[in-house]
Symmetry: C2
Subunit: 329 residues, 2 copies
């Protein structure tokens, strides 16, 4: 074991310990009395040993300080560099560890990185470009973005933007709509989900069309423009695009302008008394939510909105959903 001590003077001390097997420890002592111990090991086999070592250390510290320790906190070990990555921070930037035990699908599509990872408690989780999108446990998300059971969709025309996991489509077709059109840009999301997210999408993605639905594998912007030009309208538009939506033809300068373009086009294809549903953001991101609501005041037609905060199991944070409708027409 190699030991080195560094004196920061009024900012405390640092000691480092290196052993021959690839393990490494540091002890920092900061005024007015914090002792931070980090133990870093190479390989999983040393985990139990580390635990034992930390127990001994804690005991020895209590003796040395004659039990004058006000707080001891030991954090679970962080595993890095392995095949399975268990850390998928929340939208508000908190470090959270998932119980992921298997990589089910991991592909680069022309649009994004698509991962489907297996969580022991949440089932398979779809992660797009590092963002947790939806887990098989998350029926609450699908219900919230469909108006939380307050709408009667029977006989109605519904347009879904995005929604490649098939969750909304699967729940919607059960409710006997007249026709559901889903516009998803990424065939590889559909391919992954129809195979590995079946608790979410059932068999609805096995075919790109059914009795009362069709799936268009296209960028939704030109599709919306076509519908607007042709005067085709819908009772419901459900925007289930990713937080920063992907387009093959980003003609707008900023993300906000792009989001406004989608909203404006959606309002054009929405019937007079139609409703537009979308996810907002993590409830803690109050600034982003306020900016979004600001955009709603800058659309081509006047709208009103309501919002609801819902707990989505795999998100580990509360999520805001919006209902938007046209007014004063």
């Amino acid at each position: 074991m190699t030991e080195a001590v560094y004196n920061w003077k009024d900012r405390g001390y640092l000691a480092t310990y290196i052993n021959k097997s690839g393990s490494f420890a540091s002890v920092r002592i900061y005024p007015p009395g914090s002792v931070l111990v980090d133990l870093q090991s190479y390989g999983a086999e040393e985990k139990n040993e580390d635990h034992h070592l930390l127990n001994e250390l804690e005991e020895r510290m209590r003796e040395l300080f004659q039990n004058n320790i006000t707080r001891v906190k030991r954090l679970p070990a962080i595993t890095r560099g392995g095949a399975i990555d268990r850390y998928w921070p929340t939208a508000d930037g908190r470090l959270v560890e998932y119980d992921i035990d298997n990589i089910v699908y991991d592909e680069e599509s022309p649009y994004q990185n698509i991962k489907i990872l297996h969580s022991k408690q949440f089932g398979n989780i779809l992660i797009l470009n590092g963002d947790v999108n939806l887990a098989e446990s998350d029926l609450a998300y699908t219900q919230a973005i469909m108006g939380s059971g307050k709408e009667d969709f029977s006989g109605k025309e519904v347009l879904i933007l995005g929604g490649g996991d098939g969750g909304i489509l699967y729940e919607m077709v059960k409710l006997k709509p007249k026709m559901v059109t889903m516009v998803e840009i990424d065939q590889m999301v559909i391919d992954g989900c129809k195979k590995y997210m079946r608790k979410t999408c059932g068999d609805v993605l096995d075919s790109l069309q059914g009795n009362c639905y069709q799936v268009l594998v296209e960028d939704c912007i030109p599709v919306l423009k076509r519908y607007a030009k042709d005067g085709q309208t819908f009772d419901y538009v459900i925007n289930d695009l990713t937080a920063v939506p992907i387009s093959t033809s980003p003609e707008e300068d900023s993300t906000w302008e792009f989001l406004r373009l989608i909203l404006d086009l959606s309002m054009k294809v929405l019937k007079r008394d139609g409703k537009y549903y979308t996810q907002g953001n993590c409830v803690n991101l109050t600034e982003a939510l306020a900016l979004y609501e600001e955009q709603l005041n800058r659309l081509c037609c006047p709208v009103e909105f309501s919002k609801e905060t819902v707990c989505i199991p795999s998100y580990m944070e509360l999520w805001v959903f919006y209902t938007i409708w046209k007014t004063g027409l």
Copy 2:
């Protein structure tokens, strides 16, 4: 800046960097190609600087490796040694960070450490001996441990074991029971919750008795024994004790024996067609759940049970709840 390099030979390299202001970095290079960089700073003012430094480092690494990097992952910084502790690991031992911004209550009672911490999204959270018990966001917990809305409590006799946060009592009295008796050992939990968990308990803890309820500040074991002896029975017994219950007179050898004692006494005071509700554990702790279910086969009277898995917002893990009833009498 002081630099030191250590060669682990077939297990890689370690380099440490110490600067004069109390910051400390380590770079470990492990075969077959993992580079782990840790940056540790003293004081919050350096957080932005760290971010900038890591951006530069990442850019430089990409240049050096000519973009032959398959994966880059940066974890949110961990803050240690501060007044506010944001890390409260889950029951299944995962590291999760909470959005805690304030310490509302922090006391040592004769029985346990009681903390009430404010979370931006979950409201105030009650933490007993380091275990997240209940947040103001967690009506789902209270509903689940009351049978998920499937029971009619009007005119019924209800016994609550524990439940010091007042959540069950508050929801129960709304349902017009004949009488609710709550037995909570720790007056200081009641005191903290009636002041700081009012979204959970309303005004129900302001007085220890009301029209249809009474709160006994006592160890539940002697109370249950008294009721059993006197032949007093209840339609519902709701066990809301902590995972490892506290007693002033632990006469049993192991936790499991103690849990069985509570169950046996509860069955004695439960009416023939009564129901017993309790929380189980995190859904991932399958061994602990199986052991609990094993205890149910070893009670003084035969019982059956059903279970339900529920998402409790502040837990960041799915939780199992049990309903138990007597059979074959």
